[in-house]
Assembly symmetry: C2
Homo-oligomer: 244 residues x 2
């Protein structure tokens, strides 16, 4: 049995997230249909991260099993010829049978983009949250370091979501400005649903000087979702990279 | 009479170019409709560059006249609330009555993007020409300098187009790589129709080692459109900046 691994990039604008669900088309569904068509058998697709509706991916990683002897280049090219333009296979390789896109991952990196300019841009309207107010990015970057390490991130989870444990380990947490764009980079061993967008939404309140570093620290420690800021819009978020 | 100047960015994917024409919707048409609605009178819109179908603009400049006392911020905001997401006013200011977006321009800068990666990306599929072959960008940049200065660019014009003179003055001509993207930057006092895309299409032949620097030089001197390479796809081109 061959264990095929693909790196996939997608523009999530037109999809109801990664995972198959009854209402609306999902990226998983479109990818699975193409894979099953090219392999001519049913296939279960394992993905590293389940991105929410409207969230993008630069480096989603998936794996699936087949006995077909198709070459990796032909597989990638064939899939790209069948997939819509907003989903593209970027790389294909073969892994050990024990490799699992999700469980073998050592860390995931998300990048969140804010377009910090007076008016929105047609080139970023689908890929960044437009915020026309002055942001103290240096302070945001400093406060962002408070999420580094192991914490109970209950304050930043999706309200209705229930977890066995909300403790997660954040390895990288940065905010930087590059021209009109402000980038949030969060790398962790795992994330709660909405965690990145809720952290971004709350750090934005710091940048807008609506809350202080101490307030942010109190919110994190409170473990109370009600204390944190609003969820940043999905369109600014991108699953950038999975590390194995 | 007030002379209002706007900088406009647009994603040209869904438009039949800038200029009004009988078939298909144009950017000019959409902008003029919004301007006329907000001013409540007819307006002639003068634009710095007439971009072709599918070409983008980061810094298109337009001007029009009005006697209405509307503030520039309200005008820009009002227009953006009426315009579709793929057209955005970036800045508004008032100029001397003699200012003309096209005739007052000292130079125009176009940027052409090539995505030079094995597979296309969903984030660049509308903004870059995907070329999966190895490119000698250093050589392309060196050969590109041949177009600097005053030349008769007949070899790079649109076939059917007739001009009084095909002499144009190119001030900046560069090719550079930034990650997976190859950028062509061309600044000139004016350009023939398709000139940038035809230069790019021919410089690409240099990068692919299909023609030499000498061949390129011969093509430029031939003044014969039949000698040059193919026209690069519109989607990679962007009217970046107008200098006054």
């Amino acid at each position: 049995m061959r264990n095929i691994v693909l790196t996939i990039a997608y523009d999530g604008t037109n999809y109801h997230g990664w995972q198959c669900q009854p209402n609306g088309i999902t990226v998983e569904q479109v990818v699975r249909q193409a894979v099953e068509k090219i392999l001519d058998h049913q296939a279960k697709i394992y993905a590293a991260g389940r991105t929410d509706a409207g969230v993008h991916a630069q480096g989603q990683v998936v794996n699936f099993f087949t006995e077909k002897p198709i070459g990796l280049t032909n597989l990638a090219r064939g899939l790209n010829s069948m997939l819509p333009e907003d989903i593209r296979v970027q790389r294909g390789f073969e892994a050990d049978p024990s490799f699992h896109a999700r469980y073998s991952a050592r860390s995931k990196t998300y990048v969140y983009r804010v377009l910090n300019s007076l008016y929105d841009s047609p080139f970023y309207t689908r890929y960044a949250w437009h915020v026309p107010h002055i942001l103290d990015v240096v302070k945001m970057d400093r406060v962002m370091t408070l999420v580094l390490g192991e914490h109970d991130f209950s304050a930043f989870k999706k309200k209705e979501e229930v977890y066995h444990s909300c403790v997660r380990n954040v390895i990288t947490a940065r905010v930087k400005r590059r021209g009109g764009l402000v980038y949030f980079v969060l790398e962790g061993t795992g994330f709660l649903r909405y965690m990145v967008r809720n952290i971004v939404g709350t750090i934005m309140l710091v940048g807008l000087e609506k809350i202080t570093a101490n307030d942010f620290s109190g919110i994190l420690e409170s473990r109370d979702r009600g204390q944190a800021g609003p969820t940043a819009p999905a369109k600014g978020l991108c699953l950038q990279r999975i590390t194995y």
